[in-house]
């Protein structure tokens, strides 16, 4: 019974987290929120006894994916600050 309670709670948390990520309009906080939401998913997968998937989510969803978005963001931001330096042909 407590198992189902935990899983239900984590599912609810995942739903709230996903909505929060979607509603966040500022890209940089959104990335951090997204990473945090990834951690919720890790716990959910682990509670569902899918430890393999939890590991993969931990490494890719929490580690690598936010990194990629952050790098893309920093590039866009530096282009906005210095348009003449980075002007694309």
């Amino acid at each position: 019974v407590s198992d189902g309670l935990l899983i239900g709670f984590l599912f609810a948390l995942a739903a709230v987290g996903a909505t929060a990520v979607a509603l966040c309009r500022d890209p940089r906080p959104q990335v951090y929120l997204f990473s945090l939401y990834g951690l919720v998913l890790v716990t959910l997968f682990f509670a569902l006894r899918a430890a393999d998937v939890a590991y993969a989510q931990l490494a890719v969803g929490v580690g690598i994916q936010p990194l990629m978005i952050l790098v893309a963001l920093s590039r866009v931001e530096s282009q906005e600050e210095h348009p003449e330096e980075e002007a694309e042909p």
């Binding site: 189902g4 430890a51 393999d52 939890a54 590991y55 993969a56 931990l58 490494a59 890719v60 580690g63 690598i64 990194l67 990629m68 790098v71 920093s74 590039r75 530096s78 282009q79 600050e81 210095h82 330096e85 980075e86």
Partner: protein, 249 residues
Amino acid sequence: MSERLRHGVFGLGVLLFGALFGFATYGLPEFGVHPAAYADLVNELAQARHVANASAAVLFDFRGFDTLGEELILLVCVLGVARLFEAEREDEDRKMGTTSGHQPERHSLAVYAFGESLLGLVLLFGGYVMVHGVRSAGGGFQGGVIMATAIITLYITTTYGLFKKIDREEVLEPVEGVAAGLYILIGLAAWTMSGVFLLNVLPLGTPGSLFGGGTIWLLNLVVGLKVGAAVCVLAYELLKETQHTEPKR
């Protein structure tokens, strides 16, 4: 596009998605109930292959050929990203007439100390997850990615010099390529021995050991090396990109 139209399109999309999703999931077995024939099959397979981790048995034996495909997709993607960034960087260097790279600002000593102590832990944990793939959760893919995140730690915490010393072309890419080739070679070796590509021909070993499951542990390790190197290349290129584009102050 006006706001109203956008909301209309969004609402239509939600309705359509909801209808299709309901249609697709209607009549599925109840959550957590276990009538799935495939699950029984996989559990039997894991036992037959002397492997405790059923996912490893599926990935590197039952569906070994699919894993080869995935591996090659990753290889092509990462090579594409690396070449793309390289070409762009060379182009910009020529335009500006300078070689790129400025020193990032220095962090506090605490950040360095924390990061450097973390570095060994991350590598150790990644390696642990990688080699234990056949007997517990985890495996080559997960362990490889965890090990690759060490490069991010390195970037954040040590001086940029150490990060720059990593030679992508001489270390990471050969590891990636050789590991990808090894997977195919193991498959071909099995073919010459048995007539079937990627057939599990090695002795299965004792259940619960690190090197069990015949070719499973071998393929697991090869995939770990390959994925680790690939994600390292990816992270390295991305992080170098931030160095390059950061405006000079």
